[in-house]
Every structure is written in structure tokens, then in C-alpha cells.
């Protein structure tokens, strides 16, 4: 069953829903990247929670007008309107009052969500309309989704994706260096507005599949995951889109196979698995790689300090240093240098003297930039330069 779902073998509707979710995940990952880079990620949480009163009110209005209240476009329009009000409130509170943005987000998020829950409770007591399934907007549900619903989601997600690609340069500039962006004539306020509009669109479109409580995860987890793997903005965007798409695809497929499970949490958990994997094993920024780098560095420092101590006939107290020197064959376990070790120690001392000479000479400024106490000066200077440096080492320091 699960295999069938992942291979899109569960029938036309389930396939459409899964593909719609995939497109949505890509749009969220790509749009969320700029939100993350602009350091406004939490604004999306305010936006998503602010959709709830809109969904409830739209339902009530449609029922009052004689419908069943289940029209997805109608519900999403309501969601978009109230999310826009929430967004404007956050930005008004942040710029016009002394409230910091995090406080503004917290206030708007909770008040709108609370109001939405009250409205949902009222709706449960209404006799007209089909209120069953409205709570699916909280945690997302693909069960009972209509073909037309899936089409609406797929098309809007694709449009959002296209818009982000079109705006990628202004979005990058506004995120990295907004002052410079203004100086070359970019209207950064409008770029920010467009970015928020995109996030709002992704949120509203994703309501049905992921649910409003967890859509923020689909906007934040993919870019954060992607950041581990690359140092380039365009690559973060692409990887983030792929992570978002993959999470949503797997999540929606699993949820189609096991209808009792809400879709949103599954998608978020798949995304989290990708995040955790990246956190651990990504080269460069991953935890394992950072740890390995630290260990290598520590080893080099201990070896170097040990060699210098041996060269100057000082005792070595640290066990780690002794162990490392012994393992290299440079010293006996009690710290007495071997023949090889004495040679290495003399070289280390000569290296130090050479560095001391060039450190005070502005002509070697570029080379001095690589002076970290560990780098062998022979890898930095040419043979001619070395000869020149050696000629300037005070004779008292020269170690035969």
C-alpha cells in the first residue's frame, strides 16, 4: 500500500493530490528561502494562524448565502483576506508602535487563532452547511479532497514558484544588503511586500494539505536544511525547493495510503528527517564535519607545542601532547625526544624564528596573513624569500 502510494499507484485523485502537494512543497521551500535569508521566518507563523478566522467566516458567509460552505476557492479567499489583515497588523505594530516584531507576531498570532477557534465552535452548532472537515484546515488532510481542489492547489503552487524565480535577484539583494538595493534604485519595501505576498499565497494554498499550524515548518525547514549543503544563494533556493518538494511528496503519499493520519505532521516529520541528516553529515557546516575539523586542529596545536617545548628543552606536562608525540615516533612515552623528534623540533623552532622575522616586515604582509602558528612557512614563501629571511635571523637564534 505504502509502496503503491509512493509510486503514485493509488488512483487518479490520490496521484493528483500527491503531485499538488509536491508542487506546494517546492513553492514553500523556494519562497521560504528568502524569508529565512531576510530573517523574517516567524512572520509566516503569524500569517498562517491569521488564516483561521477567514476560513470560518468564509464558511459562514457561504452557508448564509445558501451553499454548503465547502467551496475551496471561497474558503481560501477568506483565509487570504484575514491573513493579509494579520500581516498588516504585524507590520503596523512593528513600525508604528514601540512593540518589537517578535512581540507583534506573538500577539497577532494568538489573537487571530483564538478568534478562529471561537468561530469554529460557533460553526459546530450551526444546523445548515457541511461543517465536517473544516478542522482539516488545522492539521491538513488529503482525505476526501476533490479533484478540483487538487487542481487549484497545483496551479497556484506552480504560479507561486514561477513568481519567486522571476523575483530572485531583487529578493536576494533585499535579503543580503537592503541599503545597497535602495542605492541602485530598487524599491525594497515593494520587494518585501511581494515576498510577504508570496508567503501568504503559499500558506493559503497549503492550508488544505499541511494545515495552518504546521505550514510554517514547510517554509522554514527546507531552507535551513539546504543551508547546510551550500554557500550559494541560488543553490540554497534549488536545494530548498527539492527538500520541500520531497517532504511534501512522501508525506502526501503516506497520508493517502493511511487515511487516518493527518497529512501535515507526516510532511513535517519527513522534512525534519532530512534536516537532522543534513545537520549531522553535511560537509563543512555539519556537526560531524565541524567536530572532525576541531580534532584535526587540536592535534596540530598539540604536536606543534610539543615540538617547540622539546626544542627548548622544556618538560611536557599534557598527556595528550605526550601521546601524540609518541604516536608520531617523535618522543618516548616519557617525553624524551627521539632522533627523529629532535630533527622535527629544530625545524619547528626555525620556522618560528622565520615567522618572527617576516611578521614585523610590511613587505611580507600578504604572507603574514597566513600566520596561524601552525602553517609551515616553507609552504608560504618561495626558496629565494626563505634565503632572504634566514639571512636576517639573529645568529643567537639559529639552531643547527
Amino acid at each position: 500500500m505504502i509502496r503503491d502510494a509512493l509510486l503514485l499507484q493509488l488512483g487518479y485523485n490520490a496521484t493528483l493530490v500527491t503531485l499538488g502537494a509536491t508542487l506546494l512543497g517546492m513553492a514553500a521551500g523556494v519562497g521560504g528561502t528568502f524569508l529565512f535569508l531576510r530573517k523574517r521566518a516567524l512572520v509566516s507563523d503569524a500569517i498562517s494562524h491569521a488564516t483561521l478566522p477567514g476560513v470560518a467566516l468564509a464558511f459562514m458567509v457561504m452557508v448564509t448565502l445558501g451553499g454548503t460552505g465547502r467551496n475551496l476557492v471561497g474558503l481560501l479567499t477568506g483565509a487570504a483576506l484575514s491573513a493579509a489583515v494579520g500581516l498588516l497588523l504585524v507590520s503596523w505594530l512593528g513600525t508604528r508602535t514601540r512593540l518589537a516584531e517578535d512581540a507583534a507576531i506573538g500577539s497577532v498570532l494568538s489573537v487571530f487563532f483564538g478568534f478562529g477557534i471561537v468561530l469554529l465552535t460557533v460553526i459546530q452548532t450551526m444546523s445548515a452547511g457541511q461543517q465536517a472537515g473544516l478542522e482539516g484546515f488545522l492539521l491538513g488532510s488529503t482525505a476526501g479532497m476533490l479533484r478540483s481542489d487538487a487542481m487549484v492547489i497545483a496551479v497556484s503552487a506552480a504560479l507561486t514558484l514561477a513568481l519567486v524565480m522571476l523575483m530572485r535577484r531583487p529578493l536576494t539583494l533585499a535579503s543580503f544588503d537592503p541599503e545597497y538595493a535602495v542605492s541602485i534604485g530598487q524599491d525594497v519595501r515593494r520587494t518585501d511586500l511581494a515576498m510577504m505576498g508570496l508567503v501568504l499565497a503559499v500558506t493559503v494554498v497549503g492550508l488544505k494539505i499541511v494545515g495552518l499550524i504546521l505550514i510554517v515548518a514547510l517554509l522554514i525547514i527546507p531552507p535551513v536544511t539546504a543551508r547546510f549543503w551550500t554557500e550559494r544563494t541560488d543553490h540554497v533556493v534549488m536545494i530548498s525547493g527539492a527538500v520541500g518538494g520531497l517532504s511534501a511528496y512522501v508525506g502526501a503519499a503516506l497520508s493517502a495510503a493511511i487515511p487516518a493520519v493527518p497529512t501535515g505532521p507526516i510532511i513535517v516529520l519527513v522534512g525534519f528527517a532530512l534536516f537532522a541528516l543534513s545537520l549531522l553529515v553535511a560537509p563543512g557546516r555539519g556537526v560531524v564535519s565541524a567536530l572532525a575539523r576541531h580534532r584535526t586542529h587540536q592535534r596540530r596545536v598539540h604536536l606543534r607545542q610539543g615540538l617547540l617545548a622539546m626544542a627548548q628543552g622544556q618538560p611536557i606536562y599534557e598527556n595528550m601532547t605526550l601521546r601524540l608525540l609518541h604516536r608520531q615516533g617523535w618522543a618516548r612515552p616519557d617525553g624524551v625526544p627521539t632522533e627523529l623528534g629532535r630533527g622535527r623540533a629544530a625545524r619547528a623552532l626555525r620556522d618560528e624564528s622565520r615567522w618572527r622575522v617576516i611578521r614585523s616586515d610590511p613587505a611580507f604582509e600578504a604572507a603574514t596573513a597566513q600566520d596561524d602558528g601552525l602553517t609551515d612557512i616553507e609552504t608560504v614563501l618561495t626558496a629565494d624569500q626563505l634565503a632572504e629571511v634566514d639571512a636576517r635571523i639573529p645568529s643567537a637564534e639559529v639552531v643547527a
Partner: protein, 266 residues
């Protein structure tokens, strides 16, 4: 009103009219809250010269520059660039912001930052062609950073970051270069590299304006000075304007008399 005031206040730069000036500011006032950071300032930058904006900490040097560019919205005042409103002349301006104003852990490489200087030319969707890349690399060479093109910007030292920002401005191929504290916290090699690039721009007929805080290098680096302490204090050639009386006016008690004697020309 402010224009009339300006002509009265500018006997020493009378030769540069507002129309010729690469950067002319009139009646500029910028407030953070209730206290003006810059109050009713007029400035007329002389073309083809290097001008230093100097004044004590908090005197509104950077604010003046940012307001002229529209980064801060002034309460009052107008800015013209080569005689036209600044909005119509963006393609002729290259701005180098303070290094500390951006997040250097941003996922971008040195070459990508320089390519940002070509965004106005590339538009929304224009492809980065080999010619664009070559141009960006050439700008990196001019600031001595060609070996760092594919480094992540977070790996650079402060001075190298500043040179990358300068390379981005060079890529714009502008006529007016505005720099906010380009020498703040940079190493001696960077300072030398930057000043030589700026002087070569000046020698090619470009105009350079820099917010500057190191009084000891003003006479070596710049042709003109603009002294500010919330209000405009004085403006003109270093020789006649960078003098004790004006420094006293701008810095008040913050500089000891002996310091001033050592710095100023007369």
C-alpha cells in the same frame, strides 16, 4: 528658501553650481524620533574631486549620505545628482555601505557579490554571460582580490570584505562613488589598496565622496572636506577648509588644542 541660503553660505565653493555638482543637497533634515541627526544641511560636491565628510561620532555623517540616497527618508530637503533628481540618476551612482551593515554569513561567494553590481544591467532574468563574469573578475583584480572569487564571503577578513564591496561598486561603472567609512577597521594593506583605487577613479574624472573618521589621513587622501556636526560647519578644499577654526567648530572640546594644531594645516 534653502536655495537662497545656500548661495549665501557658499562663498568658497562658488565655482560649482548646483547644476554641475555630482551631488548637491539642499535643506536636508533627518530625524530619528524627535532629535534631528542632520539639520538643514546644504552640500555641493565638486566634480572630479575626492571629498571627505568628517565630523565627530554621531554628527550625522552616514545619515547625510543615506538620506541623500533615499535609504533614510529625510523630513525635509532635496538631493540632486548631476543636476537631476537622484531617482533618475541611480545608474550613475555607486554606493559602498558600511561593512557591518550586512550579515557576512549570508550564503554567497565573493564573485556573486561583485555580480550584484551588474544587476541593474542584467535586469530580472538576463543571463550572466562570460563577459559579465570577466568584468566582475576584472573589478576583483583592481582591488587585489582576484584569488578569492569563489570563497564564501564569511571566510574573508574585514579588510577583504571592504575590498569586495568596493569591487561591486566598480562593477557599476558609475560617475559618482559614495562610500560610508571605507577605512573603518581595515588593515593597512587594504587601506592602501582602497585609496589607490579611489585616486585612480578621481584621476579618471570620477567623483568620490567618503564618510571618513581618521583626521590624520585627511590631507593625504582627500582634495576637499565637508565638516558636519548635525549642521553644516564648512565645505571646501582641504587647504583652506581643514583648519583649526573649523575643526574647533565641528569637534568642540573633543579635540585637544595640540591635536588640532598637529592635524590642521594652519
Amino acid at each position: 528658501m534653502s536655495i537662497k541660503l545656500a548661495t549665501e553660505r557658499h562663498p568658497e565653493t562658488g565655482q560649482t553650481s548646483r547644476e554641475d555638482s555630482p551631488l548637491a543637497v539642499r535643506g536636508m533634515t533627518v530625524s530619528y524620533g524627535q532629535k534631528p541627526a542632520v539639520f538643514s544641511v546644504d552640500m555641493t560636491v565638486e566634480p572630479g574631486k575626492m571629498t571627505a565628510i568628517i565630523g565627530p561620532n554621531g554628527a550625522g555623517k552616514s545619515t547625510l549620505l543615506k538620506a541623500a540616497l533615499g535609504i533614510h527618508k529625510p523630513l525635509a530637503g532635496t538631493t540632486t545628482v548631476f543636476g537631476k533628481p537622484v531617482g533618475a540618476q541611480r545608474h550613475r551612482i555607486a554606493y559602498v555601505p558600511q561593512r557591518a551593515s550586512v550579515d557576512w554569513d549570508f550564503p554567497t561567494r565573493v564573485i556573486d557579490v561583485v555580480l550584484m553590481g551588474l544587476y541593474p544591467q542584467l535586469g530580472l532574468l538576463g543571463r550572466v554571460r562570460p563577459a559579465h563574469r570577466a568584468r566582475a573578475e576584472d573589478c576583483l583584480t583592481r582591488v587585489g582580490m582576484e584569488d578569492f572569487a569563489s570563497r564564501q564571503i564569511g571566510q574573508l577578513s574585514g579588510g577583504q570584505q571592504q575590498r569586495v564591496f568596493l569591487a561591486r561598486a566598480l562593477a557599476q561603472d558609475a560617475d559618482l562613488y559614495l562610500l560610508d567609512e571605507p577605512f573603518a577597521g581595515v588593515d593597512a594593506a587594504t587601506e592602501k589598496a582602497i585609496i589607490s583605487v579611489l585616486k585612480s577613479l578621481r584621476d579618471a574624472g570620477k567623483t568620490v565622496v567618503a564618510v571618513h573618521h581618521d583626521l590624520s589621513t585627511v590631507t593625504d587622501y582627500f582634495d576637499n572636506v565637508f565638516l558636519i556636526n548635525t549642521r553644516r560647519i564648512a565645505e571646501g578644499p582641504v587647504k583652506t577648509t581643514f583648519v583649526t577654526a573649523n575643526l574647533q567648530d565641528a569637534y568642540g572640546g573633543r579635540l585637544a588644542g595640540a591635536q588640532m594644531e598637529a592635524l590642521a594645516l594652519s
